[in-house]
């Protein structure tokens, strides 16, 4: 399903304008950009979302009253849907070419104005069976800390894989390996995934 259009693009990520106001795709979710001409599918993980004025010079101001607030504000001010925009940033984590999944940066950035799409469960399973892309997520530099983006991705993938505990264990071990030299960072990620599970996993690995 098409969910946005790329408005900024680089070799490491892109910014897309969401088709739905105030509803960017979930933080950490896997999205894709199809390039039929190259027979390629580029994958990215949503790293932040924001809703701002269409014109950068116009700041949002308070609109609520005692009786009009929240969703009702949009009904009372129908122009808001046209002067606000929701955008999301995504970090590139790999691509599918010639039937094979690669978990490194694609040779070219995805083209400007191309559509961003959701990823079907089967495709998501296929991509997340390997976790090399965690390294790309950890090297991400943006408004949200890479540790939180990684944790959000693990939560999302775990959910979309149908609460796949085996996958979660593998992911936690992979994260523990990647962050073995940074105990605080490791705990930050594990707690952000699930405080209870994190304690148990950390205990099992003798990290606590």
């Amino acid at each position: 399903m098409r969910i946005g259009e790329i408005v900024e693009t680089t070799s490491t990520g892109f910014v897309a304008e969401s088709f739905t106001l105030n509803r960017p795709p979930p933080l950490g979710s896997l999205v894709a950009v199809s390039l039929p001409a190259q027979d390629m599918e580029i994958y990215a993980v949503v790293a932040y979302g924001q809703t701002v004025g269409l014109d950068p010079g116009r700041r949002a101001v308070r609109r609520s009253t005692e009786i009009v607030f929240d969703e009702a504000i949009y009904h009372e001010h129908p122009e808001l849907k046209h002067i606000l925009r929701t955008e999301f940033g995504a970090v590139l984590v790999g691509y599918l070419a010639e039937g094979q999944v690669w978990q490194h940066l694609p040779p070219q950035p995805p083209p400007l104005h191309f559509s961003v799409q959701t990823v079907e469960t089967g495709e998501l399973r296929r991509f997340t069976d390997h976790l090399l892309y965690f390294r790309l997520l950890l090297s991400y530099n943006g408004p949200v800390s890479p540790l939180q983006v990684l944790a959000a991705n693990v939560r999302e993938v775990y959910r979309q894989r149908g609460s796949d505990r085996a996958w979660l264990d593998v992911a936690a071990r992979e994260i523990a390996t990647l962050l073995k030299n940074d105990h605080e960072a490791l705990l930050t990620v594990l707690y952000a995934i699930d405080p209870g599970e994190a304690s148990a996993i950390a205990e099992r690995r003798g990290q606590l």
Partner: protein, 399 residues
Amino acid sequence: MPLKLGAVSEQIEHMAQAMAALSPAQEQFLEQAQALLRSIPADALRLKLEQQRQRQVRFPWLVATPHGSLCGAILAHPAPVDFCVIGVDASSVPPDRHRSVRFYVLNVGYAALTYGRYADAVLDAESQLYFRDEDLYLFPEKRDVPIEGTLLNARMEVESLQTLQEVIQHRAHRSSGERPPIVALRDGPLILWTLQSEPQEVQDKLLYGFLQAMSSLRQSGIPLAGYISYTDSRDVANSLRVWICQESPNECEHCKNSKRDLCLALAKIRDRDLFNFLATGERSELFASSSQILERYGEHRVDFFYLNVGGEIVRVEVPHWVSADAEWLSLLHAVIYDQSRRSPGFPPYPPALLEAHEQAVITTTERRLIEEMVERALGLHGQSVLRSAKDDSKRRRGI
């Protein structure tokens, strides 16, 4: 820095002191003026203004003829459940006489905001570049009367109303079933007083399109209003001056009237201050403007009222076919007040006009871009754009 800010700052201080010293006296005169407004019978003032007119006394100022009581205050009705406000505004890139190619750009922005059960918004603009003789000159066959300055502004007003009319027609074609009431708002006056000093044939040419668009709106059943924020008008205050004037209003220097001080103070009082007794949501009674250009408006002759939108007294101008229709006038009053309630700022400003302005505005970057696009396009066709030496030297600013 060539601007001597030190000197200016000293003068700013003097100005502030002078204004502060003046303000208690002005307050007193304002109270006297409002007492006068309450005491004058509207019929008697109308009669006096009419007599002066019959005697062909030319007022040195614009005066307002009251249609009702001078100090009447009418509260806004609630706006309908479903309605639409269409605001329109325009801006231009004027022709540059320092450039070898002559053209101008008009950008008319509009915002159609629908409220109620079918809440929706359409924000857009119509942009057009004009370069042909018939666009550049009012009389192209003689290449006479170039459209620039005041005439370009008037042309912009005409385009605004025509775009408004087109937007409404387009909506009428699209929608089926019962149409919610629509109100059309223009940013600025409906009285194109800047054309007053132009020759009659110039006025005819420019007013034709403006009045045609007004006729179309009337036929479509859409009340139109010009919304003037922070109005400088003194029409009603001037009528008070006529009322207290015992001699000719043209011979102030020989005046021996006991109310001369009040008369001189009235010259400095703006109608927006005079009507500050209106409560939020209330409007004044209607007044007819004496602007000379209105003699050419026919059925579209403009009346106006003042309205407290909450934080500001604004002037609203309406064609006579709106002011004469109680239902339309009431709808317009209700909708404008409702717009102020929905305004994101204070003092309020109608969102339909705010968004129309945002669509109409041409930024400095866009102006530069247009210039570059013209130069590139002409270059591709082997034409170079020459600039005057003056313009060139200002751009280079060589040392």
